[in-house]
């Protein structure tokens, strides 16, 4: 349907705006995380949120979820002011392994997305089962749908979380580092799942990540947060040495090599685990199976 030449050329984002932020500012006490943020996310648009550690990426998602109030400015979702706990917003958190002691199989985690917010004991129900079946097919989790959650790998669990987030026909998907601690193969799988879902439904995607590369080919726009400042634009407009150097207030180099982007010289680089380019293969969790 939307067949554009590349991620930079005005892509699949000619849909209606599902989320609008106007002059939004978030402060915690004295500290201003970010200010004067204007952003429209359209149905079908993929926006990556990048930035320094502690720059307020996750807080931005929390503000959109209505869990943190904006210090000033407005935020509207589908034309209405943000309210807490909107069913039309899906949320995919960081991967964390479910431990034993959770009475859930794969399909039950997805079912919580369908009607986990409703009160009462969940009696078997055909409508619910059909909704769960459709979601499980969508993320190709049929082979292990009846397996206990605690026996699944991190990647398999993350697939289910995407399915859970897609329940209730959301118009906006918020992903908070969903690729963290997944191996490269599963990073690609999960990113592609998000990519196909946003085109099919269509829904806007806000994707917080410390590494742009797994989603580089899908991203329409980048929102970069650093030092209380914000840059929004296509990856080619924002991920440039001059732009990021200005944002960080110190020299930062953006190197493009083999279709990948490596950002060198950010303050985060001094921490060995916070680099922008993760080429590590599989976390221990992923290899556990």
């Amino acid at each position: 349907m939307t067949d554009d030449s590349g991620p930079t050329a005005s892509p699949s984002c000619d849909g209606e705006a599902v989320l609008s932020l106007r002059d939004a500012t978030l402060r915690f006490g004295e500290r201003t995380l970010w200010s004067h943020l204007d952003l429209d996310v359209r149905a079908g648009e993929f926006v990556a949120i990048l930035g320094a550690n502690g720059s307020g990426k996750s807080s931005l998602l929390k503000a959109i979820l209505g869990q943190v109030a904006l210090s000033s400015g407005t935020a509207t979702f589908l034309g209405r002011p943000i309210a807490r706990g909107n069913r039309r917003i899906g949320y995919v958190p960081q991967q964390k392994l479910a431990d034993e002691g959770v009475p859930l199989r794969a399909q039950d985690l997805v079912a919580l997305g369908v009607d986990g917010h409703r009160f009462g004991f969940p009696l078997p129900n055909r409508q619910r089962r059909q909704a769960v079946d459709a979601l499980i097919r969508q993320v190709h989790a049929q082979p292990y749908r009846r397996r206990p959650l605690s026996l699944l790998s991190g990647g398999e669990q993350q697939r289910l979380r995407v399915a859970q987030a897609l329940a209730g026909e959301p118009r906006l998907l918020l992903c908070d580092e969903p690729l963290l601690s997944l191996d490269l193969a599963y990073q690609a799988t999960i990113s592609e799942l998000v990519d196909t879902s946003r085109r099919a439904n269509p829904l806007g995607v806000l994707f917080v990540t410390h590494d742009i590369n797994p989603v580089l080919s899908m991203v329409d726009r980048v929102l970069y947060l650093a030092g209380g400042q914000i840059r929004v634009g296509t990856p080619d407009e924002v991920l440039r040495s001059d732009v990021l150097s200005e944002l960080y207030g110190s020299r930062v180099d953006v190197i493009r090599t083999h279709g990948r982007i490596v950002v060198v010289g950010t303050p985060d680089d001094t921490h060995p685990h916070a680099g922008h380019d993760h080429t590590a293969t599989g976390s221990p969790a992923e290899q556990r199976r």
Partner: protein
């Protein structure tokens, strides 16, 4: 000589003289045990899903303190136990939202409660059997009004749990996502703590403060070893808890030994069997 001692010991453990009459006489206790099994089996699923077994232990010690104070000041064991465990449950719920905080707060509350309870018991000049019973359990002492209170509180806990079951499960396994989806996680956790406080208060009077975990945790832990189905786990947990409670009471009826060793042993054995089953299954899966 040794053989004689062992038979003597054995005949103390299992006494079945006039068994039929005793069952009739102590039917209150058997009913109470069965009801407590249902309560413990259901709430235990959440105690484990929310990683709170230690908190349960802490609540039961404060419940013991409350019950002892109730005995000392003549308010009655039931209101005392209720007051103590609700106070502890709310304290732990409000101050211990994160697991690490919760453990230290529980560890602070627990010895204080136990000490307070012992103080009240030493000052109390009534029947000695009552005293010991609050720590290790008793079956003889359940009269009709007490059974009535027990049934009412248990019904409240079970109905409350069934009402909030789904969102509570969501909030217990994935609090962030549940909150994002509009589940009132904070309110639910408060309601859960109140229900847990009520369940503990009921259990303390029957199995005793020291052994509450064998009803509120062990059956659910056993069920989770052999199933992950959100329907089968609570069902199995209830079956295990009722079996332990009623079985323990039936075995304890004739003798002079408190019921708790019987209850805890049955409950422990069920857990061991489930553990073995899960290990065998795990091995089968690994070789498959």
């Amino acid at each position: 000589m040794l053989g004689l001692e062992v038979t003597d010991w054995w005949s103390k453990l299992f006494v079945f003289d006039n068994y039929g009459e005793l069952v009739v006489l102590l039917q209150n206790s058997i009913i109470a045990g069965a009801v407590l099994g249902v309560v413990g089996g259901l709430i235990g699923v959440f105690v484990i899903a929310r990683d709170m077994p230690f908190a349960v232990h802490g609540i039961s010690e404060l419940s013991f303190a409350g019950a002892s104070a109730g005995l000392l000041f003549g308010i009655g064991v039931v209101p005392g136990a209720l007051g103590g465990s609700l106070l502890a449950a709310l304290l732990i719920g409000v101050l211990g939202a994160r697991a690490r905080d919760r453990n230290s707060i529980t560890a602070v509350i627990m010895p204080f409660g136990l000490g307070l309870g012992i103080l009240c018991l030493s000052l109390y000049s009534g029947r000695a059997a009552n005293k010991f019973g609050l720590l290790t359990g008793q079956i003889v002492a359940i009269d009709d009004p007490q059974l009535g209170a027990l049934l009412a509180i248990s019904a409240l806990v079970v109905l409350g749990l069934l009402l909030i079951w789904r969102p509570l499960l969501f909030a217990s396994v994935d609090a962030d996502v549940a909150a994002a989806r509009g589940v009132p996680t904070w309110g639910l956790s408060l309601v859960f703590m109140i229900l847990l406080g009520l369940a503990v208060a009921v259990s303390v009077q029957i199995v005793g403060a020291l052994l509450v975990l064998s009803v509120l945790v062990t059956p659910a832990a056993a069920a989770l070893r052999i199933s992950s189905s959100p329907v089968l786990v609570p069902v199995l947990s209830v079956v295990f808890a009722v079996t332990s409670m009623v079985g323990g009471i039936m075995l304890a009826l004739g003798g002079s030994i408190p019921i708790s060793p019987y209850v805890t042993t049955i409950s422990f054995l069920i857990f061991v069997v489930c553990l073995v089953i899960s290990k065998i299954r795990g091995r089968a899966r690994a070789t498959a």
